[in-house]
């Protein structure tokens, strides 16, 4: 099979069963994720969207099916991918600078060069002056900017983001969405972003993938062809939102009836 150069990641009939809990998180998920596009995965809580992202990261292996990145099977974590966690997962014993240089020095970049690169990314995420601060002294939004800089500094092919703004207050969240788009337009990499917020998904992405309630399957794929910067009130935006919510509505209903059963 020839690899389509416009496709970055493919999932073929990916199933993930957590044996010990007896839960099928994902069922036969097949999906192509396009190169250099911003793809968001939304779905009701517990639909396996984070599980899917963990499979892409290689933190976990699928029970069945295969996942390929540029045609290569994903089997373990590696620096061709960057990951941003909801709870930041910064190294508390390292400064902002130390956190960002880690991914560089671990891959053999000389320390002085690593620091130069890290400073570029610190400027990119607007954290100049905080390079020697320790993470616990920073606010949530600042920590997440460090985490984004850390995940980008070693120049991965794909950026995976697991509800990165979920722990932030509404105001900071909105600001960070704008920041992320600004940063992304600079480096233009493939991004896979997981969220349960439809508003956030449409604001950010080129493609919105809607997953169904457990077990997660692909319920719909919606292209979002609205020029950036987007606003939350334009007619196009509201139209797309209606479509996504329409698909989700069914799933939420299903989930609620499942909970009642």
């Amino acid at each position: 099979m020839r690899w389509d150069p416009n496709i970055k990641i493919t999932l073929r009939r990916v199933t993930k069963v957590f044996e010990e809990k007896g839960v099928t998180a994902l069922q036969d998920v097949s999906l192509d994720i396009r190169k250099d596009k911003f793809t968001t995965i939304v779905g009701p809580s517990g639909c396996g969207k984070s599980t899917l992202l963990h499979l892409l990261a290689g933190f976990d292996r699928p029970s069945n099916g295969e996942i390929r990145l540029d045609g290569q099977m994903i089997e373990k974590p590696g620096p061709d991918r960057g990951f941003v966690f909801q709870d930041y997962a910064l190294f508390p014993w390292k400064t902002v600078l130390g956190n960002i240089t880690f991914g560089l020095t671990i891959n053999g970049v000389a320390k002085s060069r690593a620091q130069e690169i890290a400073m570029e990314y610190i400027r990119l995420v607007n954290l100049e002056g905080f390079e020697h601060a320790y993470p616990h002294t920073l606010s949530g939004g600042m920590k997440q900017r460090v985490a984004i800089a850390r995940a980008l500094a070693y120049n991965p092919e794909v950026l995976l983001m697991d509800e990165p703004f979920g722990a932030l207050d509404a105001q900071t969240r909105k600001y960070m969405q704008g920041e992320l788009i600004r940063i992304w337009e600079r480096f233009k990499k493939t991004v896979v972003f997981v969220t349960h917020s439809v508003i956030e998904a449409i604001y950010l992405s080129d493609v919105v993938v809607v997953l169904s309630a457990r077990p997660g399957t692909v319920k719909g794929i919606i292209e979002v062809d609205i020029p950036r910067p987007r606003n939350y009130t334009g007619q196009e935006y509201l139209d797309v939102r209606k479509r996504v919510l329409g698909i989700l509505e069914e799933e939420v209903q299903k989930e609620i009836s499942m909970d009642r059963a």
Binding site: A57, P77, P79, F85, W93, G103
Partner: protein
């Protein structure tokens, strides 16, 4: 902290000693207690100065510190290695869990009679006792620390490309310091207890604070006993404040990962 609050705090710390000392001294004089039964602090201080001038006190202290630090360093090193292995290798954990539970409940001092026969009556026995006294605390705390490392921090390092050795030394170990460094402070306390007990029981050693205290019994010299007790206390506090407490401040407290218990 301003100078005046610093002054207040120092005063608060020292006040109990001052009050205790005055009550002790005053009580001894007022009730005319025989110094053979309870010497007043003034007498203890005078005797301590004399004992130091003769060089004997220093000899005792140096002998004890040597055994303590050697045993402590060995216990910390072995404890961290074994603790990490137990946390990381499930087969080692399964094999060692019963043995460890068994060993940890045996008071260190009860090892000494055995060691006296297997390792002789000298320094080796005392150092081994100190080692055993501190070892289990380090094993347990390190294992707990490594097991409690945030899974996501490890995942973050893995996806950036960290593998085995780097993952351990650059991620797991620093991340587990919130358990390991407080354990260093507890561990040396256990080492002190083992040291003094073993010194008392070891017949062939001449010097050491435990020896000094125990031998004072033959002369009914309570003053020397008190000098020994206070030396142990002072040395322990000094080591803690100058070294371990400072280490804690420049690591886990600076990083905001310390679970604070005391000051």
């Amino acid at each position: 902290m301003t100078l005046s609050t610093l002054r207040t705090r120092t005063a608060e710390t020292l006040l109990p000693f001052l009050v205790g000392g005055i009550l002790w001294e005053g009580g001894c004089r007022f009730f005319d207690v025989s110094p053979q039964i309870l010497p007043p602090p003034s007498l203890i201080a005078a005797q301590a100065v004399e004992l130091w001038a003769k060089g004997a006190l220093r000899q005792h202290i140096l002998a004890s510190l040597f055994r303590l630090l050697l045993g402590y360093v060995l216990a910390v090193t072995a404890g961290i290695i074994l603790g990490a292995l137990i946390a990381l290798k499930s087969d080692i954990r399964r094999m060692s869990s019963l043995t460890l539970s068994l060993l940890i409940s045996i008071p260190t001092i009860t090892w000494v009679p055995v060691l006296l026969i297997t390792m002789g009556l000298g320094d080796r026995t005392v150092i081994t006792a100190v080692f055993l006294g501190g070892l289990f605390e380090m094993i347990y705390s390190t294992a707990l620390g490594v097991e409690n490392v945030n899974r996501r921090i490890v995942d973050a390092a893995r996806i950036m490309g960290a593998k085995r050795t780097d993952l351990f030394f650059r991620v797991m170990l620093p991340a587990s310091l919130s358990f390991v460094i407080p354990a260093l402070r507890l561990c040396i306390g256990y080492c002190w207890r083992a040291l003094i007990g073993a010194e008392i029981l070891s017949a062939m050693i001449r010097w050491g604070l435990g020896k000094m205290i125990f031998e004072a019994r033959f002369w009914n010299d309570v003053t020397v006993m008190f000098i020994g007790l206070l030396s142990i206390g002072l040395l322990a506090v000094l080591f803690d404040r100058v070294f371990l407490r400072r280490l804690e401040r420049i690591t886990i407290e600076k990083w905001g990962i310390a679970a604070r218990i005391d000051a």
